[in-house]
Subunit: 458 residues, 2 copies
């Protein structure tokens, strides 16, 4: 009797959920996120109890344990850790730098080592400075003008680009490849203007490469705050005989074991069709990584919580994947895709949130025209939530390796105006995240997952 | 020779501007605002050198002088002050309040007097507290339960409304009419939960009315922070015998002379068709009024600066109007409309920015279907700037009195998620405004003005 009553009850709930229009389901998702959400609580813990989570750090280790534990509380069908070896780079003691106009007369400037950089010699480096805006200028100056000097890359982010990620894309080669290029002409160090649209005193770190330069030939690279980049540039114009001193103490250690954290709701009809939502659990070490990418992590966790909370029973298997090591290696993203392939898992859809926890505007889609048109047909469902941006384009670094010819990859696109004020800097902290904006993002992601689960991928 | 050369040059410039497509003009407007804007500098001065600008205060007086002086630097055709008498309310010494559980055992709470409220008696008020969520509940409780007590209005803003101004609209009667309603049942004072979607410690002020209650019968009204509203409510549930003490020292003084600040570019073809852009120069006294409405003020000034800077020669007369006394009287808005009528000025269009300096999303239009359809035809021009919100609805309080059957009123609609975190509170300060967001708003306003000037009002 009790059993058949339970069955009946389940059937009723099931029927009623299925009978709901998409409008009602979305309304329920958004309302639940805004009035009874958990993303902000999770972020509070990640940011304020754990803090920064650079790959291989204690923070990253604690974040793995914490998010696994929290996912286990959600009553998902499976929660597990996927081992992945990650690089371990440590900053060491805080960097120090100054401009020397005449011997003994110095002006301190704010710098930080770029992620992956070697240290300076123990006593630091002091050298003349050559300012360039790009690699072409560097090549024109050549060895004669560069050897023995510090190269100062000072091409600012372009303020008149509306999408700030485009402005970032137009500058970031200075940071990523600057040391490699400057090395070719005998530079002894590299200073890069921070990738920041604002003038302030905070240096912004980020990844860089040495390509195949042997360890003993690598030159140290640091970011300088935008205010100090302006100061340095002006001082060079007044007198190009000035010198820059900098000292940094960072170190690349041996790779260590870490993990992607994964949770799954197994699909009721097509369990071998996988839909992924994710963000990256690692962060840079200067702030607490609230926007990059604590926000994406807790929003992705919230997607699965909202699915359960609102009674959605997915037909396909929905996974939350908290990727490790997006910032300086992408080992987690690559590992996840590798394992998926090995296990013949059919990943039909993957959505990443890695552009900050600001007001969501929509999504960028990497998919076929057929699937994109399907997305456009859902546009009116999102209108009440002021979600209007549906464009073809990139998705996210971590889900990128999952790309096939037929699946759909997507990236959440929040308002980007403030993002680079905080990106990779010490002010990427919890107070810069607005609870409602974060929750709206989680609801927007959940809504898209719900629709793709219901209507499938073309 | 020189003269004809100048004429030729003017002709060339004129032709080239006219030959530009709307796409090019908008691009130029946005680029100029983002790379060579002045709105943020003006706001810096208004917020950090002048500060709060409550009607009748020294700050308001200085803001009138400063903005007039700055408009004069722009080379407009006319700049003038329009006299208007405004109310003058002063807060006096900071308010003080506590909850008393048993005599001598007290818990301080954060309050601030509502704008227009009377003071408490010199020794303050201590009384039992009745918590209600709305006026119906108040009426049900009636005199028997309310007389001699403090009424505590505690209906929170509804978090699941996407547009936060709607949530504000659903609560603000507690603040505006709370004292009038509570007076009817013999309450001795009113405490209102701050209009804030966030839980924090800051009380938010705002206007209130006494209708026609004689001065000697007016009861004091204050806002309490959301955190303390929660504390008070919980303590009342545990023990409704607790008392609340509060003391405030505010005062309504005699009206004083103030001004709307007005600048004009006179139209080349239809000088008696006026198009207004404006914000309000007054602010509440707790913060520095950067979002409300410093942002609207500097964006409106920037519209005229951008028009000149980008070489647009308007056919109609474009006015910037910096309205005085929006917050507690609307005297400036009413005065401007009154004078416009008296002078037979045909106001075909008016746009207000008074919803914060956040990323612009679009506009709300109060106009005919024909004009609204015209706006919709411009939608694609705004797409590159991520402006997508074009809806029929309200415009702005200050421009409201200009409404006719045929003209177009509009309000800039920025992202509203964070607005009520700052609205009327001590954290409405310059640091909460992002330069790019402010500049995008100014460019968006300028673009709409340009299009309405070019194509006219239907």
């Amino acid at each position: 009797m009790i059993k058949s009553f339970t069955t009946l009850l389940c059937l009723l709930i099931f029927t009623s959920i299925n009978a709901q229009t998409d409008e009602v389901v979305l309304k329920n998702i958004y309302s639940t996120s805004l009035t009874n959400g958990n993303s902000y609580n999770w972020l509070n813990h990640l940011s304020n109890q754990i803090g920064s989570r650079l790959s291989g750090s204690l923070g990253a280790e604690r974040a793995v344990a914490y998010t696994k534990e929290e996912l286990e509380k959600l009553g998902l069908d499976k929660v597990w850790l996927q081992p992945v070896m990650v690089p371990r780079w440590v900053r060491g003691a805080k960097e120090y730098a100054y401009i020397e106009t005449v011997p003994g007369k110095t002006n301190t400037v704010n710098i930080c080592a770029l992620g992956g950089s070697v240290a300076t010699p123990a006593l630091g480096i002091k050298a003349h400075v050559v300012e360039v805006k790009n690699f072409e200028e560097l090549a024109t100056l050549g060895k004669a003008n560069i050897e023995g000097k510090i190269v100062f890359y000072n091409r600012p982010m372009q303020a008149d680009l509306i999408q700030t990620f485009e402005a970032y894309g137009g500058c970031v080669n200075q940071r990523y490849k600057g040391a490699v290029e400057a090395s070719k002409y005998g530079a002894v160090g590299v200073i890069v203007r921070s990738m920041n649209l604002r003038l302030d005193d905070l240096p912004h770190t980020g990844s860089m490469t040495y390509d195949d330069i042997p360890v003993e030939k690598r030159i140290p690279a640091a970011a300088i705050s935008t205010n100090d980049a302006e100061v340095l540039s002006t001082m060079l114009q007044l007198n190009n005989d000035i010198k820059l001193y900098f000292k940094q103490n960072c170190k690349q250690l041996a790779d260590v074991q870490s993990y992607n954290v994964i949770g799954e709701i197994t699909g009721s009809e097509f369990p071998n069709q996988y839909m992924v939502v994710g963000g990256h659990l690692d962060s840079w070490d200067l702030g607490d990584g609230s926007h990059d990418d604590g926000a994406g992590v807790v929003q992705s966790m919230e997607v699965l919580r909202l699915i359960k909370e609102t009674g959605i029973k997915p037909k396909r298997s929905i996974r939350v994947v908290l990727f490790m090591n997006e910032e300086n290696g992408l080992r987690g993203g690559n590992k996840y895709a590798e394992e998926a392939k090995k296990n013949n898992e059919n990943h039909v859809f993957a959505l990443e949130s890695d552009a900050g926890g600001f007001t969501p505007r929509g999504f960028s889609f990497d998919c076929s025209d057929a699937n994109y048109n399907q997305v456009l047909s859902w546009k009116s469902l999102f209108k009440p939530y002021l979600i209007d941006y549906f464009e073809k384009g990139g998705s996210g670094a971590d889900v990128g390796p999952l790309k096939t010819k037929t699946n759909v990859l997507a990236g959440l696109r929040p308002d980007s105006q403030r993002y680079f004020d905080h990106h990779h800097a010490s002010n990427d902290t919890f107070d810069a995240v607005n609870k409602r904006e974060l929750e709206l993002g989680a609801a927007t992601m959940t809504s898209l997952v719900y629709l793709f689960d219901k209507y499938g991928v073309k």
